[in-house]
C-alpha cells in the first residue's frame, strides 16, 4: 500500500489521528522513560537520581533529561493529533450535506469463512464534533500535567500512560465499527486502571484502580455479548452498514430476540450495549468506581471525567442510537426497552448523584458526583430521543468539566504549597523535604491501616524515617510505607474544602476560571455553554411532557430537580473554596508560585474557560427570544444542522416553548441563589460546622456515605465472590470433591492391593525361588520409578472410566439395544 495515501487522501488521513499519541506511548515506554543513553544527573534529587521516597533503597528515577524528553515526545504526539484532527474537521465543515457523504477507509482485518471483517476509520458529523473536543481537551490536560506532575519522580511514565489513554480515545472516536470502538474502550479501561493506581504503593490507590477496572468490566463483558450478537445477526459491525441502513435496522427490530423473549433483537442488543455504557459512564447502579477514581493524579481525573473515559460511554450510545431507537418513535410517545432503560437510568442517576454531591467536602469528589449526574442528563436525553441535545451536552460538559477538574487540581496544588509554606515557617520545621518529596494530592497520614486480609498493620517509624509494618499472620516484615515525607507531616487533607476558604485573593486566575466553569456547570443563563445544552435537554423533555408522554415527564422532572441541586452545590463549592476568609494556614498561603509550573497549569484553564463560555452559542434555538435571531439566523440550530446527517433522517427541530428556558432560569438561578445565601452571606469560619448537617439532619450521613452503596456491594458481591472463589471453587470442589474422590478411591484400592499382595506372598511362597524373586525385582524397579502411587491412580482412572461408561450406557439406553 502506498503510504503517502495517509497524507494525501482525506479518507485515509484519520488513521493518523490516534497514531501520534500511540507512537508517543511506545517511544516514551521503550526509549525515553529509562534509557541508558540519558546520563544520570542529580539536579532535583539527592544522590544519583535516587527516588526521594525510598531513602534507604536503591531506587532510581528517570533523569531530568529523560523526563524532559518524555514530555516533549508526549506533547508532540498529542499536538500532531490535534492539528490533524482540526484540519480534518475544518475540511468537513466545508463539505455540503456532510454525513450523506463521509470520509472513510478500511482494510481487511480478518478472514471469517468466505467473508472478511473490515477494520477502518470513519469521519462523519458526530466524529467530527468529537474531534473538535477530544484532542483539544487532551492537549490542555497534557500541558497542565507538565506543571502538575513536575515534582513526581515518575512523570515520564505518566506521560507515556496518558499518551496511550489519548490514543485509545482517539481510536474509539475515529473507529468505523463497533469492534474497533471496543478496542479503544477497553484500552482506556487499562489506562484508567494504571493511572488511578499511579501511586501504586498506596492501598487506597490500587484498591480504587481495581475497583474501577472490575466495575467497568462487569459492564464490558455484557457489552461484548451485545457486539457478538450484533455481529451474528447482521454479519457486520460497521456503523455505516448497520446504522445508516434502513433495511438492516428494520430487520433487526422485527427479529425476536434469541433469549429473553418478547423484545426484538435490536432491543436486546441495545440493552447489552447500554449496560456497557452504564459501567463506563458510571451510571447508577455502577457508579461506585468513579468517585474513588479521584485517587489518581488530577490530570487523570480530568482525562477520565471529561475528555475521554466517561465521554466514551455516552459517545457509544449516541453512536449506536439508530439501533437503540429501532422500532420506536420517542417523539410520538412510542418507546422500546432500550429507550426506557436509558430514560430511567439517566434520570435516576442525574438526581441521585446530585443529592450525594450536596454533602461531600472533598473538592474533587463534589465534581466526581457532578460528573455522574451530568452524564445522567445525557443518557436520559437519549432515552427521550433528544439525540442532538445529548451530543451537545456531551461536548459542553467536557469543556467545563475538564476546566473544573484542572482548576480544582490547581487549588489542591496551591493548598499543598501553602501547607508546606505554613509548615516551614510556622513550625520552624527543617524544610529539607518540602520540595524534595513527590507531589501528592491526597490525604495521607493514616497510621492504622488494614491489609487486604483484614490484619491490622501497626506502622512504626524506625530511625531512618522508614515505616515498619508488622503484619500479623506472617513473619514480621518491614514494609516501606509511602510517601515517607507525608508520614512525618501527619494528617492534612489538601482536598477538604473545610480547610480552604478565601482562595480568591491568592489564586485569582484559578478563582475566575473555576467560577466560569462552575457557572457553566450550574447552567447560569445565557452566557455559559452549560446553560444552552442543558436547556435543550429540558426543552425536549418539556415538549414531550406537554404531550403527556410518561418518560419525558420523568426525565423533565428529575433533570430539573437535579439542575437545581447542581446549581446549589456549585455555589456551595465556590463559596467554601474561594469566598470568606481562609480557614487554615495552608489556605492563607495557598498559591501556585511562579515559573513553569504555574504557567503550564494556568494556560489550559484559560483556554478551556473560553470554550466553557462560548461553545454554547452554536446551539441556540432559533425561536429563542432575541439571541435566537443572532446565533441561528437560518432558522436552524447550527450544531444540529451539522450533526443531523449522522442519522439517516435528520432529526426535526423541537418546537420552542418558553416554559423550558424559564425552568432553566429558575433552577439555575434559584440553586445558585440558595447556595450563595447559605454559604456566602455568612461564610463558614474555621471550626464551624457545615449548615447542611443541621438542615438535613438524619439524611446527611446517608448522603455523606453515598447511600452506603460501597458497603452494600462489598457485602453482597465482593465478599461472597471471594469466599466462593477460595472456599467453594478451590478448597471444596477441587481439593475436596475432585481430589478427594481420587484420593479416596486410591486409598480403597491400595487397601485391596495390599490384601492381594499378602495373598500373593502367601501363594508365591509355595512356588520356587525364581518367580518370586523376579516379581520382587520388577516390583522394586517399578516402585523406584513410580513412587508407589502408580497403582492407585491407575485404579482410580479405571474406576472412573467404568463409572462414566455405566452412566453413559444406562442413560443413553444402549444396553437395551439388540
Amino acid at each position: 500500500m502506498d503510504l503517502s495515501l495517509f497524507l494525501t487522501d482525506r479518507n485515509w488521513m484519520p488513521w493518523l489521528i490516534p497514531a501520534g499519541p500511540l507512537l508517543a506511548f511506545l517511544v516514551i515506554t521503550l526509549i525515553t522513560n529509562r534509557s541508558r543513553l540519558m546520563p544520570a544527573t542529580s539536579h532535583d534529587y539527592s544522590g544519583d537520581g535516587q527516588h526521594p521516597e525510598y531513602p534507604n533503597l536503591a531506587v532510581h528515577v528517570v533523569t531530568p533529561l529523560g523526563r524532559v524528553a518524555s514530555i516533549v515526545v508526549g506533547l508532540s504526539g498529542i499536538i500532531a493529533a490535534w492539528l490533524i484532527s482540526w484540519s480534518i474537521v475544518g475540511y468537513t465543515f466545508g463539505i455540503e450535506d456532510f454525513g450523506k457523504k463521509v470520509l472513510e477507509s478500511a482494510v481487511t482485518w480478518m478472514n471469517t469463512g468466505t467473508t472478511t471483517f473490515e477494520m477502518g476509520v470513519l469521519v462523519d458529523p458526530l466524529t467530527s464534533i468529537m474531534l473538535v473536543m477530544v484532542p483539544l481537551a487532551c492537549l490542555c490536560i497534557f500541558i497542565y500535567a507538565i506543571g502538575y506532575m513536575a515534582h513526581d519522580p515518575r512523570q515520564a511514565r505518566f506521560f507515556s500512560l496518558i499518551s496511550l489513554f489519548a490514543g485509545a480515545m482517539l481510536t474509539l472516536v475515529v473507529a468505523d465499527n463497533l469492534l474497533l470502538l471496543f478496542v479503544g474502550w477497553e484500552i482506556m479501561g487499562l489506562c484508567s486502571f494504571m493511572l488511578i493506581g499511579f501511586w501504586y504503593e498506596k492501598p487506597s490507590a490500587y484498591k480504587a484502580a481495581v475497583k474501577a477496572f472490575t466495575t467497568t468490566r462487569v459492564a464490558d463483558v455484557i457489552m461484548l455479548l451485545g457486539i457478538a450478537y450484533l455481529y451474528f445477526t447482521t454479519g457486520t459491525l460497521s456503523f455505516r452498514e448497520i446504522l445508516y441502513n434502513e433495511e438492516v435496522l428494520s430487520a433487526l427490530s422485527q427479529t425476536p430476540a434469541i433469549i429473553f423473549g418478547g423484545i426484538s433483537a435490536a432491543s436486546l442488543i441495545g440493552v447489552f450495549l447500554i449496560i456497557g455504557t452504564i459501567g463506563k459512564s458510571a451510571q447508577w447502579p455502577m457508579h461506585v468506581w468513579l468517585p474513588d477514581a479521584m485517587e489518581g493524579p488530577t490530570p487523570v481525573s480530568a482525562m477520565i471525567h471529561a475528555a475521554a473515559m466517561v465521554s466514551a460511554g455516552v459517545y457509544a450510545i449516541i453512536r449506536m442510537y439508530p439501533l437503540l431507537e429501532a422500532g420506536a418513535h420517542p417523539h410520538s410517545g412510542e418507546f422500546n426497552s432500550p429507550l426506557m432503560l436509558m430514560a430511567i437510568i439517566g434520570a435516576v442517576t442525574a438526581l441521585f448523584a446530585a443529592t450525594i454531591a450536596v454533602a461531600q467536602n472533598d473538592v474533587k469528589r463534589v465534581l466526581a458526583y457532578s460528573t455522574i449526574s451530568q452524564l445522567g442528563f445525557m443518557v436520559a436525553a437519549l432515552g427521550i430521543g433528544a439525540y442532538v441535545a445529548a451530543t451537545f451536552h456531551l461536548i459542553t460538559h467536557a469543556f467545563f468539566k475538564a476546566l473544573l477538574f484542572m482548576a480544582s487540581g490547581a487549588v489542591i496544588h496551591g493548598m499543598e504549597h501553602g501547607h508546606h509554606h505554613a509548615h516551614a515557617h510556622g513550625h520552624d520545621h527543617d524544610d529539607e523535604h518540602d520540595h524534595a518529596h513527590a507531589h501528592d494530592d491526597h490525604g495521607h497520614g493514616v497510621v492504622m491501616e488494614h491489609d487486604e486480609h483484614g490484619h491490622p498493620i501497626a506502622v512504626a517509624q524506625d530511625a531512618h524515617g522508614m515505616a515498619l509494618v508488622e503484619a500479623h499472620g506472617h513473619a514480621a516484615q518491614p514494609y516501606v510505607e509511602l510517601p515517607v515525607a507525608s508520614q512525618k507531616e501527619g494528617a492534612f487533607d489538601a482536598q477538604d474544602m473545610m480547610n480552604m476558604g478565601g482562595l480568591r485573593k491568592t489564586m485569582p486566575v484559578t478563582w475566575i476560571t473555576f467560577l466560569i466553569g462552575g457557572l457553566s456547570l450550574a447552567g447560569f443563563p445565557l452566557i455559559t455553554a452549560g446553560f444552552w445544552s442543558k436547556d435543550e435537554i429540558l426543552l425536549d423533555g418539556w415538549v414531550g411532557l406537554s404531550e403527556g408522554f410518561g418518560p419525558h415527564a420523568l426525565v423533565f422532572i428529575c433533570l430539573a430537580l437535579a439542575a437545581f441541586l447542581t446549581a446549589f452545590y456549585t455555589a456551595r463549592q465556590l463559596s467554601l473554596t474561594f469566598l470568606g476568609e481562609p480557614r487554615t494556614d495552608a489556605a492563607k498561603h495557598a498559591n501556585l508560585g511562579k515559573g513553569i509550573v504555574s504557567a503550564t497549569m494556568t494556560l489550559p484553564l484559560i483556554i478551556l474557560a473560553v470554550f466553557a463560555l462560548f461553545a454554547g452559542f452554536v446551539g441556540v434555538h432559533p425561536d429563542f427570544p432575541i439571541l435566537g435571531g443572532i446565533f441561528s439566523p437560518n432558522r436552524e440550530i447550527p450544531f444540529k444542522e451539522f450533526l443531523g446527517y449522522t442519522l439517516l433522517e435528520k432529526p426535526e427541530l423541537v418546537p420552542f416553548s418558553i416554559i423550558a428556558p424559564l425552568a432553566s432560569f429558575a433552577v439555575a438561578l434559584g440553586g445558585l441563589a440558595l447556595g450563595f445565601w447559605m454559604y456566602a452571606r455568612q461564610p463558614l469560619k474555621a471550626g464551624e460546622v457545615d449548615p447542611m448537617v443541621r438542615i438535613l439532619g438524619p439524611v446527611y450521613p446517608v448522603l455523606r456515605n453515598k447511600y452506603y452503596f460501597d458497603e452494600l456491594y462489598t457485602a453482597i458481591f465482593i465478599k461472597p465472590s471471594q469466599w466462593f472463589a477460595k472456599e467453594v471453587a478451590y478448597v471444596f470442589l477441587d481439593k475436596g470433591v475432585i481430589d478427594g474422590f481420587l484420593h479416596l478411591v486410591a486409598r480403597v484400592f491400595t487397601w485391596i492391593g495390599d490384601l492381594i499382595k499378602v495373598l500373593n506372598l502367601w501363594l508365591i511362597d509355595g512356588f520356587g525361588d525364581g518367580i518370586p524373586e523376579m516379581v520382587q525385582r520388577s516390583g522394586s524397579w517399578l516402585k523406584r520409578i513410580q513412587t508407589g502411587r502408580v497403582q492407585q491412580y491407575m485404579l482410580v482412572i479405571t474406576l472412573a472410566l467404568v463409572v462414566i461408561a455405566i452412566i453413559f450406557a444406562l442413560s443413553s439406553g444402549v444396553l437395551a439395544a439388540p
Binding site: 534507604n56 504503593e201 481430589d739 482412572i797 439395544a817
Partner: protein, 529 residues
Amino acid sequence: MIIGIDILSFLVFFPAIAALIVLILPQNRILARWVALLFATIITGVSVAVYAAYNTATPGFQFVMQQEWFEVLGASWHIGIDGISASMILLTGILAPLAVLISWEIEDRVNTHLALVLFFVTGCMGTFVALDLMIFFIFYELSLVPMYFLINQWGGPNRRYASTKFFIYSMGGTLGMLLATQLIGITMGTFDIVTLTQNWPAFAGDPTNATFLGISVSTVKALAFLGFFIAFCIKVPVWPFHTWLPDAHSEAPTAGSMLLAGVMLKLGAYGFLRLVIPLFPDVWVEPINFLGFLETNWAGIFAFLALLGIVLGAFAAFGQTDIKRLVAYSSVNHMGFVALGIAVTALVYGQAYVNGDSAHMMDAIMATNGAVLQMFNHGLSSAGMFLLAGAIYHKTHTRDMTQFGGLWVRAPIYGGIFIFMSMASLGLPGLNGFVSEFLVVRGSWPVYTVLTLIAMIGLLFTGSYILKGIRGVLQGPFNMNWAGTRLEIEAREVIAVAPLMVLILLTGLAPNWILSVINATVTSWLGGV
C-alpha cells in the same frame, strides 16, 4: 527435503537427535546451553519455514509423506499438515528455544535437562504432524515421558506428588484411547487417519442387524468415542479432569511450565479437532436422556463442562495466593474457551453429518477459528506468564503473593512486562487473546446462548484474578524482605519473553497473519461436511 529426508520428518526427529547429542556432550554447562539453544533455533527456523511454505490456497494436507512402516498392523509413517497443525507446529517451534533459554537458569544436571526439553519437542511435533493413529498415539504418549522427568527431577517442593499425579492421570486417561485406537484400527484394517475419517463414521458393522462382535454398533462407537473423549479431556484439561494441572504446572521448573501450558495442553484440543470430531460426528449429536427429563448430547455435555472450566477455573484462580497456581488455573479458564469453541464445532459438524443441517455453519467456522486461535494465543500468553512467574520465583524462592508486594519499584521493567502479559492473558482488546475469545463467543452465542451468557461470569473473574496477580506482585508498599534481592528481570529473560510480546501484539492488531491460514482449513473442512 533436508539432508535427504522430508521436512516434516526432519522436524519430528531432529529434536530427538539434538537431545541425544546434548546428552552425550561433555558435562560443561556453557557448552550444553549454547548447543541446545542452537539446535532449538534450528527447530524454530524449520518450523517457520514450514509455516511460510504452507499454501493457504490449497485445501487438504500438505507436505504429505507416506512410507510403509508396520504393514502387518496396517500402520504407516503417514504425516502431513493442514492449517491447524501448521499453526501448532509454529507455536511449538517458537516456544522451543525460549524454553531452552529459560532452562539456562538450571544449574543441576544441565545436559539431561536440556535434552529432555528437546525430546519433548519431538513428542509434540510428532503428534501434530501424524496422519496415522498409531503414530499419533505413540508421539502423544512419548511427550509425557520427558515432561514427567522434568517435573519429577527439577520441580518444586511437592514435585513427587505432582509428577506422579500428572503421569498416572495422563497415562491412565490414554488407556481407553489405546483400546479405542486398536478397536478402530483392527476393525477397519487401517490406522490411516485420512481414510478412517471417511470410513469409520459410516461403519455399520454387520449389515443385517447393525452389530459388531455381537454388540450394537452404536455402543461400540460410543465406547470408542469415550476412550478418546476422556483422554483428551484430561489433557486439555476440561473440568473436572483438571486437578492434575495446577499441581503439575506449579511444581514444574519454569521451562517445564512454559512447554506444559504452551504446547502440551494443545495436544488435547488438537486431538478433538483432528480425531474425535471427524471420527465420531454421529456420536456427538446422539441424543442422551439424563434421568428421563434432561435431553442433551455429548456436544452439549462438553459445552457444559467447558462452561464449568471457564467459570470455576476463573474462580479457583481468583482464590489462589500462589502466583504459579494462579497462572495454572488461568489455563483451565482459557482452555475452557477452546473447549467451548470445539463443542460448537462438534455439534454443528455432527448435525451436518447426520441430517445435513448446516444452518449454524458460519457460527461453527467462527467458533473453530476462535478455538484454534485461542490455542495459539494461550500458548503465547501462558508461556509468557509462566516465564514471568518463574523469573520472580527464581529470585525470591517463594511463590506466595502475600510475601511479595510493591516489587514494581525495584523491578520496573519486569513490572511493565508483567502487566503486558497479564493483559494479554486477560484478553485486552488490541492483544491476541481478545480476538480468539471474541470469535468463540461470537460462534457459541447463537448455538449455546445461555451457556455463553453464563460464561461471561468467567470472563469477568478473569479480570479479577489478573488484577489480583498484578496487585499481589507489583502494587502496594514495598516489602523490605527483598531489599537486598536483585528483583529486576535479567537480560536473558527479556530476550526470551520479547518474541512472545511481539507476537502477542501482532496477533492482537493484525490477526490475519495466522487466522487466514486457520480459516482456510476450517472453512474447507466444515464447508465440506
